[in-house]
């Protein structure tokens, strides 16, 4: 496959991720839609190009919820949707579990999660939960309490290095969670312990629950702050799939790598502009709003290229 071929494929995946998340947001009359707009290219580039994962012969079904981990109840892990590992394979850790639907959509686009399971999203008893835990497709850890994903990923990275494994630990962070003290604790520890096998993409969509990130707590200059802690840092347009992929194949080093991705929470969905500044969770407050979104979805579906396959 030539360079352009993979770019086309990844862009199609990104389009599909947005469309799928919009469909579920319409169906449930609410959802984490702006996260899909901001991170669609990141997820598509990860699953379509960057991550080294075991192939799956066929998309896997998401099982029903069968209990939380505990005595007599072994943990069922979403890692199987990522191929289940292997010493040369990457982990993919999603830190903000609020992005779960984006992850499910990416898995469906990547042929890792079957279509019928997508229909069980946010249905009682399903593992395809609104804010997933480690039994949910693609979720390798339980990270919904923001700030803990990077620490867990660092522990995994340390252990994998000890075991001599060559696979990386690839982590996706949201910008808001980088306000936590634990994030900075983890950053200093990952640099101090030279976790060069940790690759972090940060979706800088500038939105959080209370509104624009800059009005809640300032993070900037974020790239400079990361650098000053000792990390290797690149700052890119988070919708540029070539740049995303390039950063995913940097030569290994002895410090963690952070790809700070500037993104637009309304990307390819201008209809969301009207929701500003509250983009964290989209809910339709009127029938008119919902109709407009439905119309947008219909147009989006019609514009789907044949290569995207049927859904």
């Amino acid at each position: 496959m030539s360079k352009d071929d993979w770019t086309v494929k990844v862009l199609q995946m990104a389009h599909g991720i947005r469309r799928r998340v919009l469909a579920h947001t319409l169906a449930r009359n609410g959802g984490y839609l702006s996260q899909a707009c901001s991170s669609a290219e990141i997820f598509a580039a990860l699953y379509g190009k960057i991550l080294k994962l075991k192939r799956l012969d066929t998309p896997l079904p998401a099982g029903s919820f069968n209990g939380t981990p505990g005595p007599g109840c072994p943990a069922s892990t979403g890692a199987v949707f990522n191929g289940g590992g292997g010493s040369d394979c990457d982990n993919f850790i999603l830190s903000p579990a609020q992005y779960a639907l984006v992850l499910y959509a990416a898995l469906a686009e990547a042929g890792r999660l079957d279509e019928r399971s997508m229909e069980t999203y946010d249905i009682d008893g399903s593992t395809v939960e609104m804010i997933g835990a480690e039994h949910s497709p693609g979720m390798e850890v339980t990270s919904g309490s923001l700030g803990q994903g990077i620490s867990q990923a660092s522990g995994i990275a340390f252990a994998r290095r000890v075991k001599g494994e060559t696979g990386r630990v690839v982590l996706l962070l949201s910008d808001g969670e980088c306000q936590t003290g634990e994030f900075w604790e983890a950053l200093q520890a990952a640099c101090y312990h030279k976790l060069g096998n940790l690759l972090v993409y940060v979706d800088m969509n500038g939105c959080q629950c209370d509104g624009p990130t800059s009005t809640v707590m300032n993070l900037e200059p974020f790239d400079k702050r990361l650098k000053s802690f000792g990390a290797r840092v690149r700052r890119i347009d988070g919708h540029d799939v070539s740049a995303l992929a390039r950063c995913g194949s940097l030569p290994g080093g002895d410090v963690p790598t952070f790809i700070v991705c500037d993104t637009d929470p309304c990307r390819d969905m201008d209809i969301l502009q009207g929701f500003r500044p509250k983009l964290h969770y989209i809910r339709f407050s009127s029938r008119k709003e919902k109709r407009a979104c439905q119309k947008f979805y219909d147009a989006m579906s019609a514009a789907r290229s044949p290569a995207e396959g049927k859904v």
Binding site: G70, E134, T142, G144, Q148, Q152, F158, A159, E185, A189
Partner: protein
């Protein structure tokens, strides 16, 4: 009174030889938590995490997922207070084998309220998947590590350090879920009281009950080192057979610890016997010596005597000098890295 010093420190080094998957994580309290010997012996298996406990606990969860066994060492308060969310979500929820050694339970530090873990058992006991153990002497301080290792999932240890009395035979190590019957002479029928103690209160309980027995009060005495899971039918049977009910005695708040565990079991068994809970009476404490705090907050042998006197309405005229000697480690000594 036979005592031993730096029991955990020594055992950890010896034990570490045979457990290559065990890693010690520390948050700038390495010598204070008796992990300095391990650091010296196995530097590649020692991780300094800085004063950053939230990251340390979730990092430990990540390590455990990959087959390593992290032994987290710091003061107890910094595990269950500062990093509770991380303990809950990165360790307990996934049921990972992270073994947490929390030092300075209750009155064992002059460091004041910031350092005194008075509700750790209550908090950790409430977490699903968590096992909670508390050594009461040198034998248990040593073997708590083995119990923690052999118990699947996360384990929280209210660990002792420095100079510790030897109360139990070296050949009788701590066993998960097995209370020790220190004194339970079943030949004479039920006792007046059943004393259930944990941690350092067991020694005080032994001192007091020996003198009380001389005064004609019959007391069965059980030492509990597994605070969760807590399922002790033998103790419940003993309480059922008693004339005046149960007394619990712990170096912890009377809310949520041993006293509460016993109360829950008694209530579920339908026992209508009085229960008297001795411990820290729902209050924060301040910084002072162990002996002072024990007296001030009612955790010494005399506190137990007073409770029995109150329950029986008798005055036994027992004075401090009637008790056998006790282990009173010096606040400033070579047995600890610092007085804290």
């Amino acid at each position: 009174m036979e005592t031993m010093t730096k029991v955990h420190a020594r055992h950890l080094v010896e034990w570490g030889k045979h457990h290559p998957d065990a890693y010690v994580l520390s948050a700038d309290l390495t010598a204070s938590c008796e992990a300095d010997g391990f650091r010296g012996a196995y530097p590649e298996r020692f991780l300094s995490m800085g004063i950053a406990e939230q990251n340390m606990l979730a990092f430990a969860g990540g390590m455990a997922r990959e087959g390593l066994v992290p032994l987290v060492h710091t003061f107890a308060v910094f595990i269950y207070r500062r990093a509770l969310d991380q303990v809950a979500m990165s360790v307990a929820y996934p049921n990972l084998p992270v073994k947490m050694f929390g030092f300075l339970p209750g009155i064992l530090t002059p460091g004041g309220a910031t350092h005194q873990a008075i509700e750790d058992t209550a908090v950790m006991r409430a977490l699903p998947n968590m096992t909670v153990i508390e050594p009461g002497d040198a034998t248990e301080t040593e073997t708590a590590l083995d119990v923690a290792w052999e118990t699947p999932g996360p384990v929280y240890v209210r660990q002792l350090r420095g100079e510790v009395p030897v109360l139990f035979d070296r050949d009788e190590p701590m066993k998960l879920g097995c209370p020790r019957g220190i004194f339970c002479d079943l030949r004479g029928g039920g006792p007046d009281f059943v004393l259930i103690s944990s941690g350092i209160c067991t020694e005080e309980g032994m001192r007091a009950s020996a003198v009380l027995r001389e005064k004609g009060v019959s007391i069965f005495h059980y030492h509990v080192s597994t605070l969760k899971p807590f399922d002790c039918p033998e103790i419940i049977d003993a309480i059922a057979s008693s004339r005046r009910g149960a007394i619990t005695f712990e170096n912890h708040s009377i809310v949520g610890g041993l006293g509460s565990a016993v109360a829950e079991c008694m209530a579920e068994a339908g026992l209508s016997k009085p229960l008297r809970r001795l411990g820290i009476r729902d209050t924060f404490m301040h910084g002072a010596s162990r002996r002072y705090l024990a007296h001030e907050y009612g955790l010494d042998a005399m506190a137990l005597v007073s409770a029995v006197e109150k329950a029986t309405g008798e005055d036994f005229s027992i004075r401090e000098e009637n008790f056998r000697e006790t282990c009173t480690p010096a606040m400033h000594s070579d047995a600890k890295a610092e007085a804290l």
